[in-house]
């Protein structure tokens, strides 16, 4: 087990994340330009979508695939509900709803790092997990807003929520569209066409991931510093928020791992599904929440997800959940 942790911690993508975080903590001026950060993130979404589509086209779409997708969808609906019930005891309803939505959704880069972890161990994984990821991105947004509205009927009415706009923004946010689109294109691509694209999507993948995680390390470390500074503004102590940022992924991972093992998923798929459960969104959901729930404080939910949960999942979560699902499957 220790070797899994160690080999994860010395994987170059992780080390580049560390490098970025260290640079930011030391106040180095190392910086990835914003548009490059977005480019790297678009690249990763496109590449993982295309990879998933290729893998999907290689194995027939059968009932078990549909079952897995259905289960993933259920998780995306259930997780934010119980998360909201727990968190709202400690924070204002708007913040609780935004946190619930954040943790009910997923982080594509955490997933992508998981696939690169599995690839480096030589453990196979199935393409339909990418579809599961795309499916799990949006529902939490809707659920989060409904929960808030139920809890705070008056305020919500006053705002006059535009449900059509929210629905559209949830389902059509850029990352969902790009992953889904690339997945379908990879699925329908002829083998010769796919072969022309794989040097881009496959060979560069780990290198681009390294560069993106370098950026994420810088951003996460800065956000952590800012969080300490403006800690007083939030209505909760940073300590409580940090606790939640570690506890929520652990709880979600445990539940998802049980489901994965109960479904009898193979090793790689079990880890990836667990990782989807454990990970929290830091792009799609915060973007949607700023529009639909502006009264929630982004320094709370975005910082928890980006500065605490994301590094935790990357550094400790991946090998931990791997070990846990293996152990569960063995018992």
């Amino acid at each position: 087990m220790e070797s899994l942790f160690l080999s994860n911690l010395t994987a170059p993508p992780l080390l580049f994340f560390f490098l970025g975080a260290l640079a930011a903590f030391a106040r180095s001026d190392l910086e990835i330009p914003t548009q490059i950060g977005k480019f790297l993130s678009l690249y990763l979404l496109m590449a993982i979508g295309f990879k998933g589509g290729l893998a999907l086209s290689a194995s027939p779409l059968d009932a078990s695939v549909l079952r897995d997708l259905g289960v993933a969808l259920c998780l995306a609906v259930i997780v934010p509900i119980y998360a909201f019930c727990i968190i709202k005891r400690f924070t204002p309803a708007a913040d609780a709803a935004a946190i619930a939505a954040t943790y009910g959704s997923i982080s594509a880069v955490t997933f992508v790092t998981g696939t690169s972890y599995l690839d480096s161990l030589g453990v196979p994984w199935s393409g339909h997990l990418v579809a599961a990821m795309a499916l799990m991105e949006s529902p939490a947004i809707i659920i989060g807003i409904v929960l808030y509205q139920t809890a705070n009927r008056e305020d919500a009415d006053a705002v006059g929520l535009n449900w059509r706009a929210i629905g559209r923004e949830a389902c059509l946010n850029g990352s969902v569209v790009l992953i889904t689109g690339a997945l379908i294109i990879g699925y329908v691509a002829s083998p010769s066409a796919a072969a022309q694209i794989t040097p881009f999507t496959a060979d560069l993948f780990v290198g681009m991931l390294c560069l993106f995680l370098l950026d994420m390390g810088i951003v996460a470390a800065r956000r952590l510093q800012d969080l300490r500074k403006v800690g007083g503004q939030a209505q909760q102590s940073p300590g409580i928020l940090l606790l939640f940022a570690i506890a929520l992924p652990l709880v979600n991972a445990t539940i998802t791992a049980f489901v994965a093992v109960w479904l009898g998923l193979p090793e790689g798929d079990a880890l990836l599904l667990t990782l989807l459960g454990a990970s929290a969104s830091y792009i799609a959901v915060p973007a949607a929440m700023r529009l639909a729930l502006p009264q929630a404080n982004p320094s709370v939910y975005l910082s928890m997800s980006l500065a605490a949960t994301f590094p935790f999942n990357l550094l400790i979560g991946i090998p931990l959940y791997h070990q846990f699902t293996l152990w569960l499957a063995a018992t």
Binding site: T34, P286, A287, L302
Partner: protein, 98 residues
Amino acid sequence: MKPCKRIEIVVEEALTRRLEELLEAVGAPGYTMLPRASGNGDRGVRRGDDPTGTFTNCVFIIACDDEATITAIIEGVRPLLQRSGGICLVSDAMWVRH
């Protein structure tokens, strides 16, 4: 040249489309938008560096010489600023007519 008001609004980039829709709705004669600004205010630092755009601002500049439209812009932007932060400055300027 004729006198007008120069309205300058700073909001987070996520609200760009909302503000554009507002300006169109109230009949603003035009606007210019500068993206990717960073900033600092009551709600803490917005570094303009994260991939979400939540911590990135943008600056709208609107030249307007119609009293009613000016009021409509200001009143329309106020709730936006209340909920999501930002500032709105109004100053006098001369508009070079071409």
